[in-house]
């Protein structure tokens, strides 16, 4: 066990950032809620909360980066960071699980039951006469007007290739930093970030295309599941790309060594995670959708 090597664990000093973080999130969310209720104060609160949140991120992560670069963390502390990241990714997996679950439930249960499956009662003939659609569907009331089916060719396929390639480039960067090859490390990271942002751009393009076809967030259950799943994934790709961008900046500032580069590894783990989620989306939303 790692702690047999080390007899003392780093003890942080008193910290203000957790409190700043809590306050900023509260302001941000209260602002969002007020905005949804139509209050004019809402957007202002959101901006204030968001700026405070960004200050907290810079302050808190900055402190951790300084402590890391000062060589305060050793193996034992490093293990805590690794475990923390693993469990965080696990929680993210469960978050996506809720939406994949909703997709499964809608396709396999709620739509077939609207068509009279289940106990075989004729209720559906009275409630939704004439409804015969199967997946993809925007429901018996034809919500949003269109359930245009988003195919897997060509944009989603290209995006799959892009994300898989970015998985390779980030691994290339990892192998490079392990042997202290900073130049290749930076190239690999740069390519990964670039591919990430291209992915987000193409995803945005696809959304514009979908809206042109009349397929919207409000297009019944198909639109709901399509946009919420790909939307939350796109948000995670954007976050992942920003995290990798920070790693790129740190790499150019001379941070990380062949032995000590966990922040980069964590970002790479996160990147692989969004990659795997995309494969799930590609299969269950695009190909079989």
């Amino acid at each position: 066990m790692s702690h047999a090597i080390q007899d003392k664990y780093f003890v942080p000093e008193a910290a203000k950032w957790p409190l700043v973080g809590s306050i900023s999130l509260t302001i941000l969310f209260c602002g969002f809620a007020s905005y949804l209720n139509g209050s004019l104060l809402g957007p202002t609160l959101m901006v204030v909360g968001f700026i405070l949140f960004i200050i907290m991120l810079f302050g808190w992560f900055g402190q951790v980066v300084n402590e890391s670069e000062a060589g305060i963390y050793r193996k034992w502390e490093d293990m805590s960071f690794r475990m923390g990241m693993c469990w965080f990714i696990f929680s993210e997996v469960m978050f996506f699980g809720a939406f994949f679950g909703a997709l499964y439930y809608a396709r396999e249960l709620s739509v077939p039951w609207l068509l009279g499956e289940g106990d075989g009662l004729p209720t559906h003939n009275l409630l939704w006469p004439g409804y015969t659609e199967v997946w993809p569907t925007n429901g018996p009331e034809d919500l949003g007007g269109s359930d245009y089916h988003m195919g897997w060719w060509p944009l989603p396929f290209i995006n799959t290739v892009i994300l898989l390639t970015s998985g390779l480039t980030v691994t290339w960067a990892h192998h490079a930093i392990k042997v202290d090859n900073r130049k290749q490390f930076i190239y690999g990271l740069f390519l990964t970030v670039l591919l990430g942002f291209i992915f987000v751009f193409l995803q945005g393009w696809e959304y514009v295309y979908a809206y042109d076809q009349g397929m919207k967030l409000s297009s019944g259950i198909y639109g709901s599941t399509f946009f919420m799943l790909t939307g939350f994934h796109g948000l995670h790709v954007t976050l992942g790309a920003i995290i990798l961008l920070v790693m790129l900046v740190r790499a150019m500032l001379g941070h990380f060594t062949g032995q000590r580069h966990f922040a980069f590894e964590a970002a790479a783990w996160y990147w692989h995670f969004v990659d795997v989620v995309w494969l799930g989306l590609f299969i269950f939303v695009y190909i079989t959708g």
Binding site: V11, E13, L25, F29, A98, A102, G220, S224
Partner: protein
């Protein structure tokens, strides 16, 4: 940067003590200070929640509407469950908004909850914030248990309280994000035009119930597993024997956690499910009785032929074992689908989950307060007051909840401010029990405050039969409890 002791060769025992005054509490990174904050917060929440429950019981003292209007009653039943400070403040504020509090019970089912006024986005975001809080806390606990055990403290030597917290934290990380997903869908259904829970768009309100209870059932084990751990510490101490069946306790806890993921639909037997679903969830639910039975057997076997004494923590622990078992049995009754069809949404269900959560979870938590209070404050608490607190709580909690079984079996529905005259007698008894139980809890506050202010000094070991690392350090424990680490043999 210079403040950190990078050179670990010298003793950094006195590196940094707490900052003075209020800033100690606001900026603390010390696990015991944070623990203290959690404990005070939960004590305050206990009294706020309890006060709201008493409003409900007052309303139910007699049929007809007298104290609160049905709308407010509804909001109250939502409020008393979902409660950490910022998230809590947001949630509490919903009671005072345009359109009132949430238009649903604590289970926030659509479509009813979507009829909420201004309170809805605040309710949803407060759940997001509380979720973030739970996940961060839980990741901390899991990483601490996995990475920071003392040398020699193998997994199968850990105190059972640590084991149950380990598994509880795992459950939290697994299910809080699912709840976040569910309430996000509510938000987008209300404000952004999605139709996850709207049949007109091909969605289904029942889908919310499935996602919610996939979170909700592990959640009830999140509430009870730490209680199992507490009781598994206290009973061995006051029986002066080792815990009977330690490893079976660990495996039972893990099985309960596993089963918790595949039983959720027993909360919704009457909602409309394929027969095979009803049967599957009935049998998985009944399976939970097996590991839970193992636990109750082990607690009783630990007491068997032990040199028992009955200090307050032990009294609460024994009360827990007996009354939790009553709640467990009524749970077994509810698990049977055809029987549940009769009991669903009646006071029988209310009686069931209050037996497992009040004389269950809360009795165990109160037992823990008495057990660890001398370690926390360095003083012994007032044993006489403690015992009085126990007996008053036990008598009144049964007066409060036992009659609910009868009115439930007779058909009184839950979540109503008014009821048929035939249920009056039992409801009056329950309300008397509720006020007795509520006032008895003031004794807890008195005991805690008195103990902080003084009392006979507690020894390091505090209890004659106590074993474990925390009983080897001074009472109260030094600011940095172990430096350097102790070695466990």
């Amino acid at each position: 940067m210079n403040a950190y002791s990078v050179d670990h060769s010298h003793d950094d025992h006195h590196d940094h003590g707490p900052p003075p005054g209020l800033m100690r509490w606001v900026t603390t990174t010390n696990h015991k200070d944070i623990g203290t904050l959690y404990l005070w917060f939960s004590l305050i929440m206990f009294f706020i929640g309890g006060f709201m429950a008493l409003i409900i019981r007052s309303e139910l003292f007699q049929p007809g509407l007298q104290i609160v209007d049905p709308h407010f009653f509804n909001q109250m039943t939502t409020m008393s469950f979902w409660i950490l400070p910022f998230g809590f403040a947001m949630m509490l504020s919903t009671l005072f908004m345009d359109g009132g509090g949430p238009a649903s019970g604590w289970t926030i089912y659509p479509p009813l909850v979507l009829q909420t006024g201004d309170a809805l986005p605040f309710l949803i975001f407060s759940i997001h914030i509380l979720g973030v809080s739970s996940i961060m806390g839980a990741i901390n606990i899991v990483a601490t248990i996995m990475n920071m055990r003392a040398p020699g403290m193998t997994y199968m030597k850990m105190p059972l309280f640590v084991w149950t917290w380990f598994i509880t934290a795992y459950l939290l990380i697994a299910v809080m994000p699912v709840l976040a997903g569910a309430v996000t869908m509510l938000l987008t259904d209300k404000f952004f035009g999605t139709s996850f829970f709207d049949a007109a768009g091909g969605g289904d309100p029942v889908m919310f119930q499935h996602i919610f209870w996939f979170f909700g059932h592990p959640e009830v084990y999140i509430l009870i597993l730490p209680a199992f751990g507490i009781v598994s510490e206290i009973i061995p101490t006051f029986s002066r024997k080792q815990l009977f069946g330690y490893s079976s306790m660990v495996y039972a806890t893990a099985s309960i956690a596993f089963l918790s993921f595949i039983v959720w639909a027993h909360h919704m037997f009457t909602v409309g499910m394929p027969l095979v679903g009803e049967i599957f969830f009935m049998f998985t639910t009944m399976l939970i009785a097996v590991p839970t039975g193992v636990k109750v057997f082990n607690w009783v076997s630990t007491m068997w032929r032990g040199a028992m004494t009955f200090e307050t923590p032990m009294l609460f622990a024994i009360g827990f074992v007996i009354m939790f078992t009553i709640g467990g049995f009524s749970g077994l009754m509810l698990a049977m689908t055809p029987i549940d069809f009769q009991y669903h949404d009646t006071y029988f269900v209310v009686a069931h989950f209050h037996y497992v959560l009040v004389p269950g979870a809360i009795f165990a938590i109160v037992a823990a307060v008495y057990y660890w209070l001398p370690k926390w404050t360095g003083n012994m608490y007032d044993e006489k007051l403690g015992k009085a607190h126990f007996w008053l709580s036990t008598i009144f909690v049964n007066i409060l909840f036992f009659p609910m079984h009868f009115v439930g079996l007779a058909g009184m529905p839950r979540r109503i401010p008014d009821y048929a005259v035939q249920f009056t007698d039992f409801n009056q008894i329950a309300t008397i029990g509720a006020f007795g139980f509520g006032f008895a809890q003031i004794l807890l506050l008195v005991v805690v405050v008195k103990c902080i202010r003084g009392g006979s000094r507690a020894t390091d070991q505090v209890w004659e039969g106590a074993h474990g690392l925390e009983w080897s350090v001074a009472s109260p424990a030094p600011y940095h409890t172990f430096s350097p680490q102790p070695v466990v043999k």
